[in-house]
C-alpha cells in the first residue's frame, strides 16, 4: 500500500445556507424548490444602481454559529468584493468577507473510532450564495450550454474554514457530520446536503511520514453527500500517492468529483480567474458588535451536543455509546428527552430508540421530525409494558402499529385485542395443550434435558399469539411438568 508511506493532510471549506426567510441583501424569499427565477429582484440580477442592505438575522445566525464553535467573535467586521466572472454570479462579484471576517479562530471536537479529535476552525465568514446552473448535458463538461436560475443568488451563507488538521478521509467525513449536527442544534441552517444547503470543498495534500512541510494540494468540489466526501478524498489520496511514488509532481488545481464513475477529474474552467482582486465593498458599512449583542446570543444558545453527551452519561447514567449515538442527532436527542419526561427508565428508552425505533426510521427512510409516534405515547407504551398489560414481544407489534398509524398504544391494544393474558386458568389451559401436543420434547425434558423448556415456553407464546405473560407461561409450564415427574 503506497498510502502507508504518507501523511494525509485535509482541510475543509464548508458552506452552510442560513435559515433566514429573506436573502442577505434584499427582501427576496429564500424558500427552496420554487419556479426558476421567481425569487429575484433587480439586486439579485446585479442591475446597475441597486444597493444592498444587510439582513440583521443573518448577522445573528453567523455569530450564533461562531459561538457554537467557540470562535472569537469580531467586534468589527466588514464586507469585501470578490471579483470573478461566472454565469451563476449575476453581478460578476460576490459580496464576501476577506480580511476581517465576523468570526475568528475556534474549534470542533468529535470522536473517531473512540479517539477524541480536535479540529481547529480558522474563521467563519458571511457571504452571499451564487445562483444555480442547470447543465444541458449529463455533466458540466459535456454541456453545450447551461441554464441559470438566480433564486439562490443572494441567500446568506456562512463559510466555515477549517485548519488543515484532518489526517484521513474518515476524519473529514465525521468532521463534516459534526458541523452539521452543531449547526442544526443551534438552528441556523437546515444543512440538507441533497438540497445543497450544506456543501463542502476539500483541500488535500500528502507528505512523506515524518515530514513537516505540506505537499502540493488539490481542491475537490462537487461532493454531494457525507459518503461522497470520504470517497472522493480516498480516491484523491490514492491518486496523489501514485503520482508521488512515480517521482512526479502534483499539479495544484481544482478537481470535480464524479460520484457515478467514482473518480475526480480536472476542472478547467474558461472563467477561472485565480485573481479575485478583493476590495472593501463600498456599498455596505462595517458591522460593529457590542458585548451585549454577543452575550445575548451566547445566553440564548441551546445545550450543544458535547454538553448533552456528558449530561446523558452523568445524569441519566447512559453508557457513552448510547449517549454518543443519541446526541449525534438533534432530533433524536429532543425525542429522547420528550419520552423520558414521561417515563423514567432512561436505559430502556435509549435501547428502544437505538433499536426498534431507528430500525423503522431507517427502513421507512423518514425523518425523525416527521415521525407519527408522539413521545408521550411511546412513554405510555413503556408504562403498559411495565404494568404487565402487554409483553415485550407485543410491545414491538404495538410500536409498529403506532409508527404506521400514529395511534396511541392504549387504543391499539384495545382494537387489536393485544392485552397480555395474565389469567391463570387461561394460561394453564394453553400449557396443558402444549404438553399434549409435544410428547417428544416433554419426554426429553423429563429425561433431564432442561434446555427443552425454552422450546416449550416458545410454543406457549406461539399458541397464545404472543399474548401470554411470559413469566407466567414459564412458571406454569415448570409446575405442570414437575407434576408429571411425581406422577
Amino acid at each position: 500500500m503506497p498510502l502507508n508511506d504518507y501523511t494525509i493532510v485535509i482541510g475543509l471549506e464548508v458552506h452552510a445556507e442560513l435559515m433566514t426567510k429573506s436573502k442577505l441583501f434584499c427582501g427576496c424569499s429564500t424558500s427552496f424548490g420554487s419556479e426558476a427565477n421567481s425569487q429575484v429582484c433587480p439586486r439579485c440580477l446585479g442591475l446597475p444602481g441597486t444597493l444592498p442592505v444587510l439582513n440583521k438575522k443573518a448577522v445573528e445566525y453567523a455569530v450564533k454559529a461562531g459561538l457554537a464553535f467557540d470562535c472569537d467573535i469580531s467586534k468589527y467586521s466588514k464586507f469585501d468584493r470578490k471579483n470573478y466572472f461566472y454565469p451563476d454570479l449575476s453581478k460578476a462579484y460576490q459580496i464576501s468577507q476577506f480580511d476581517q471576517p465576523i468570526c475568528g479562530k475556534g474549534h470542533v471536537e468529535f470522536y473517531v473510532g473512540g479517539e477524541k479529535k480536535v479540529v481547529g476552525i480558522n474563521r467563519i465568514h458571511l457571504e452571499e450564495e451564487a445562483g444555480k446552473s442547470v447543465h444541458s448535458g449529463a455533466t458540466i463538461s459535456d454541456s453545450e450550454f447551461s441554464l441559470e436560475d438566480y433564486n439562490r443568488c443572494g441567500i446568506p451563507l456562512i463559510e466555515i474554514v477549517s485548519e488543515p488538521d484532518m489526517r484521513s478521509p474518515e476524519e473529514a467525513r465525521i468532521y463534516m457530520e459534526t458541523l452539521r449536527n452543531i449547526l442544526r442544534y443551534v438552528a441556523v441552517s437546515d444543512c440538507k446536503m441533497e438540497e445543497g444547503s450544506l456543501r463542502c470543498d476539500a483541500n488535500i495534500s500528502l507528505m512523506p511520514k515524518g515530514a513537516t512541510k505540506y505537499g502540493t494540494r488539490t481542491e475537490i468540489k462537487n461532493m454531494n453527500s457525507f459518503r461522497a466526501v470520504q470517497k472522493a478524498l480516498e480516491y484523491e489520496a490514492l491518486r496523489h500517492a501514485k503520482i508521488l511514488d512515480r517521482g512526479e509532481k502534483i499539479v495544484q488545481e481544482t478537481r470535480t468529483w464524479d460520484d457515478i464513475a467514482g473518480i475526480t477529474a480536472s476542472m478547467r474552467s474558461k472563467e477561472e480567474a485565480h485573481d479575485y482582486r478583493y476590495f472593501p465593498e463600498p456599498d455596505l458599512v462595517p458591522i460593529v458588535l457590542t458585548d451585549e449583542f454577543i452575550d445575548d446570543i451566547k445566553n440564548g444558545l441551546p445545550e450543544l451536543p458535547v454538553a448533552k453527551f456528558h449530561r446523558y452519561v452523568d445524569e441519566y447514567e447512559l453508557p457513552e455509546y448510547d449517549a454518543e449515538l443519541i446526541t449525534a442527532d438533534k432530533d433524536l436527542a429532543e425525542y429522547f428527552e420528550a419520552v423520558i419526561a414521561n417515563y423514567k427508565d432512561y436505559k430502556a428508552v435509549s435501547n428502544w430508540l437505538m433499536g426498534e425505533f431507528m430500525r423503522l426510521v431507517n427502513e421507512q427512510s423518514v425523518e425523525i421530525s416527521e415521525i407519527k409516534v408522539k413521545p408521550e405515547d411511546l412513554a405510555m407504551m413503556f408504562t403498559l409494558q411495565e404494568k404487565g398489560v402487554i409483553s415485550s414481544k407485543i410491545a414491538k407489534t404495538v410500536f409498529e402499529e403506532m409508527f404506521h398509524s400514529g395511534k396511541d398504544p392504549e387504543t391499539i391494544v384495545k382494537e387489536k385485542g393485544l392485552v397480555q393474558i395474565s389469567d391463570a386458568s387461561e394460561i394453564e389451559k394453553i400449557v396443558l395443550d402444549v404438553i399434549e401436543k409435544n410428547p417428544g420434547p416433554v419426554a426429553q425434558y423429563l429425561d433431564g434435558k432442561e434446555r427443552v423448556l425454552g422450546f416449550l415456553v416458545g410454543q406457549v407464546m406461539k399458541l397464545s399469539k404472543g399474548k401470554a405473560n411470559p413469566q407466567m407461561a414459564n412458571d406454569y409450564l415448570r409446575a405442570a411438568l414437575a407434576k408429571m415427574v411425581k406422577n
Binding site: S22, N37, K56, N83, Y86, I140, S146
Partner: protein, 98 residues
C-alpha cells in the same frame, strides 16, 4: 513610487474582460500612473492618530429586518436576457472542451 506598466494594464483589463486596443492600453497606462502619482501625495499626510478605515461613509450597522418582500414578475426578470429558455437564462458552455 510604484508604477504601472503596459503589461499590468493588459492583465487588469483582461481580468475585467475589457478588450483594449494598443492605443487604449497606452492611454490607460498614462492615466493609471497619474492616479498613482496623486495617491503618492497622500503619503505626506500624517495619519498617526487615524484608525485604518475601509469605508469613507460615516456610520455602522445599517441593517434591515428579515422580512420577505415581493420579487419581480418573470416577464420583467427576463427583459434583459440575451437568451431565455423556460424561465431560465441560457448561457454558453462554461467548461472548456477536452
Amino acid at each position: 513610487m510604484s508604477t504601472i506598466d503596459r503589461k499590468t494594464v493588459y492583465r487588469v483589463a483582461d481580468l475585467a474582460r475589457l478588450y483594449l486596443t494598443d492605443d487604449e492600453i497606452e492611454q490607460m497606462t498614462v492615466s493609471l500612473n497619474k492616479i498613482l502619482e496623486f495617491e503618492e501625495q497622500l503619503k505626506g499626510v500624517n495619519t498617526d492618530n487615524v484608525e485604518p478605515m475601509a469605508q469613507a461613509v460615516p456610520g455602522v450597522n445599517v441593517m434591515r429586518e428579515d422580512v420577505v418582500e415581493n420579487s419581480l414578475p418573470l416577464r420583467e426578470v427576463m427583459l434583459n436576457a440575451p437568451d431565455e429558455v423556460e424561465g431560465f437564462f441560457r448561457v454558453p458552455r462554461i467548461i472548456e472542451k477536452d
